[in-house]
Symmetry: C2
Subunit: 193 residues, 2 copies
């Protein structure tokens, strides 16, 4: 039986590590975090990117791992910035990104979690949160596009929420919760504390 | 001695194949073209992307290959769209791309050619053309950002030029000409026809 400490979250993003740890914790579980940059391929499909990265992390660490890849997909921009959200954030920044938008501001965040090393094939879980792009950045929490993303049903941006509050809405929390359900209920490989 | 027909250009872009064939032809040489999609990694460095792709193409085809990767780097946008030029072109399109620009319109195209299978290590050649972004698209030739790129010293966009004329200016031609010089002069592996 796999102990829950033996599943390692591989990422190079401290914000993601904080969120994922908090999601595990809020379900009475734990995971290890290993900070490492893996190669990300170019693809329109973030699941493909996550599969490739998780395979590489598994090969390098030699133990069961999971990675998470996410993107912001703006309807009026054909899904841009999508898989390249992080690159676009670093180069253009939020202010220039907002210039691309007019009245059509619908968008969604998608997260894909990929586990490698627990089954014969990589296992994928995804989570989506629909919402709209704010006209200007608000809030100091979160990271990336959080200050300009307002989930449908909320009046706050994701950056105006605490980590615990963001996890009630976020794409990442939805994907990680599917992973937890799979680990505990379907596979019964983890013991609850 | 390697015959020139044994060096294969691997690409999935017909426009690139046309240009590269014309550059070889204008120097009295030939190359094979093999149409194939290779995996492209995410990187700020297009050389890294080309090395990875050329390695993959060499492994799959089992003979000496070269690939070419290129990007448009806009100074005022911190190099955006850079390595993701093709994705940004497909999702945003030229019109939306132009909205990102104001008075500062300096930019450069960079091309990297990577040869795999002729030496122990991959060999890289690069070419750059500096210029500026036009205020609106002009011309029907070329592909991608050619209708909005005016090389320094030209009044035409790259899309207003014939293939032969574009090759007098282009980043791609500069990189491929370095490859040809290396093949003929430095390595003497090719015979001139």
């Amino acid at each position: 039986m796999l102990s829950e400490d033996e599943l390692t979250f591989v990422t190079s993003n401290k914000h993601k590590a904080v969120e994922v740890r908090e999601i595990f914790r809020s379900h009475g579980a734990r995971c290890q975090v290993h900070y490492m940059k893996t190669i990300e391929i170019q693809s329109n499909d973030i699941a493909e990117i996550a599969i490739f990265s998780s395979f590489q992390a598994y090969q390098l660490l030699g133990k069961p791992v999971f990675v998470e890849d996410a993107g912001l997909f703006v309807d009026a921009l054909n899904g841009f910035p999508g898989p390249y959200s992080s690159y676009v954030y670093r180069t253009l920044g939020l202010e220039t990104f907002l210039k691309l938008l007019n009245k059509r501001r619908n968008a969604f965040f998608k997260s894909v979690v990929c586990v490698y090393g627990l089954s014969r094939a990589p296992v994928i879980f995804s989570g989506v949160v629909k919402g709209r792009i704010a006209t200007e950045p608000r809030g100091e929490g979160g990271f990336g596009y959080d200050p300009v993303f307002i989930p449908a049903g909320s009046t706050k941006t994701l950056a105006e929420m605490s980590v615990a509050e963001k996890n009630k809405w976020s794409h990442r929390a939805k994907a990680v919760e599917k992973l937890l359900r799979w680990l505990y209920k379907d596979r019964k490989t983890f013991h609850m504390r």
